[in-house]
Structures are given as C-alpha cells and as structure tokens.
Symmetry: C2
Subunit: 116 residues, 2 copies
DNA sequence: TGACAAAATAACTATGTAGTTATATAGTGT
DNA sequence: ACACTATATAACTACATAGTTATTTTGTCA
C-alpha cells in the first residue's frame, strides 16, 4: 500500500487555506492595519475601525486562534498586538500585484486612446 | 469636506481581501498547485485533484475572474495556466510560517520532556 | 447530419460566517 | 456591596459559497 502523500498534501492545503482565510476579510485586514502601529485595546480598535465591540472581539478571537495576534491583559483592558509580522509582507505583495495590474490597465487604456 | 481617505482605504481592503479569498480554499490551492508544473486542461486538473468537472470549472472561472489564471482554447479543449506567479511566493511564505511554528512547538515539547 | 467528448452553466443543498442585539463576565473604584 | 467600564460570549439573521446533479453549449470526427 502506498503512503498517502496525497492526503498529507490535502492537510497541508487545509492549513495554508486556513491562514489565507484569516486575511480574506476586510474587517480583519482593518484590524491588522490598526495594530501595525503598535498594540491597541479592543475599544481603540473599535474606534479605529468603526465597527462594533462584539464584532471586533470575535474577529480578534479568530486572529488570535490563528496565531496572527497576541493578547495581553492589564487591569480590565485587553491589549492586542501583532504576533506574526510576516502578514504585512503578504499584504504588501498583494497590494503590489494589484497596483501593477492597475498600471497595465491604465497603459492599455492610453494605448487604446492614442491617435495613430 | 475632507477627502474620504477612510473610504478609499475600505476599497483597498476589499480588493486585498478578495485576492486572499481566492487563496483561502483548499481545492483552489490544489488547482494552482496542479498548474505549477505547466498549463493543463480541465480534465487533467479534474484527475489531478480528484474533484468533479463542474466543481473544477467553477473554481477555474473564479480564479480566472480574479486574474490568477489564464485560459486558452484549442480544438475543444480549454488549457489553463498561471497568470500571476507571485501567488507561489505567498504560499511559500505561509508554508514557511507554518513550518516555523511547528518547529517551535516541537522545541517546546522537547523542553517540557527534558529531565532536569 | 448524428454521435461523441470537453467544458460551461443552472439549480439546488448544505454549511460557514460576518454582523447584530442582548447578556454575561471580570476588573476598578466608591 | 454597588455602580461602572471593558471585554467576551450566546443566539440569531442574512448572505456567500463549496459541492452535487442535471443540462446545455461547443467543437470534433464519422
């Protein structure tokens, strides 16, 4: 019987997909963006994102569960911070790809509009 | 009235999130993985992934719509290929982060089991 | 034209999840 | 103990989407 390298692959894909999934929501991206400048309390994040407290708490729980943020308690405040800075590399790379595509769209548009 | 830099930000977050979302599904990752070694027909991808033809066609449409793959017609075959190779950089980076975390888990486990 | 194969699409089901509202928990200061 | 604030959790709604089955479209070849 062959070793199930296919199944191992499936598990790996699952793990990777789950990570990307954490980054595939605009509100979670806003939270991570808010934390880019340093740790923040839940209330601060609520204000920065314009969302509601329960919603932010839930997203923070997901991000924490996925290992992307860290939580620290002080008095009755919860301070959250980035635990996996590499996510910003990912975001930058994606932004770059988007910018490149917009650029070439623009270029094509110009070419189309050139008088020969 | 202030320029709505907040709203622009929201749009950017949407764009980035949508890109990550394409990568947040195991089956789509398997498809992209299958295309890593070169362009493939739909039927070939179906066989490599073990999924069904309609499911693969739908995922391919999503990936194409998101600019990640390209489609080429020849006779009555549809050849798909990678249009945005940078996605492999992203996947590699994520895999790396997972590996690092598994490593440190392993290390912690060893430390716990050390006799003093 | 008719039979066949490849791929796309439609309709449907089932599941996941973002956001809301209401409530519970926990820490602080009086 | 009480009031107050910060955060977490529960229950719910609404919507998106992965996968399935059935059907349609399109090209090839006889």
């Amino acid at each position: 019987m062959l070793p199930t390298s296919i199944e191992l692959n499936d598990e790996a894909m699952e793990l990777v997909a789950r990570r990307f999934k954490l980054l595939s929501d605009p509100m979670r991206l806003k939270i991570l963006h808010a934390l880019h400048s340093g740790e923040k309390t839940v209330t601060e994040i609520v204000e920065l994102t314009g969302s509601t407290q329960p919603n932010i708490s839930k997203h923070l729980a997901a991000l924490r569960n996925g290992g992307l943020v860290r939580r620290r308690s002080e008095s009755n405040l919860a301070y959250f911070s980035i635990a996996a800075p590499f996510i910003f590399e990912l975001c930058d790379r994606v932004c770059q790809s988007i910018a490149t595509e917009l650029d070439s769209l623009q270029k094509n548009f110009s070419l189309q509009n050139q008088t020969k």
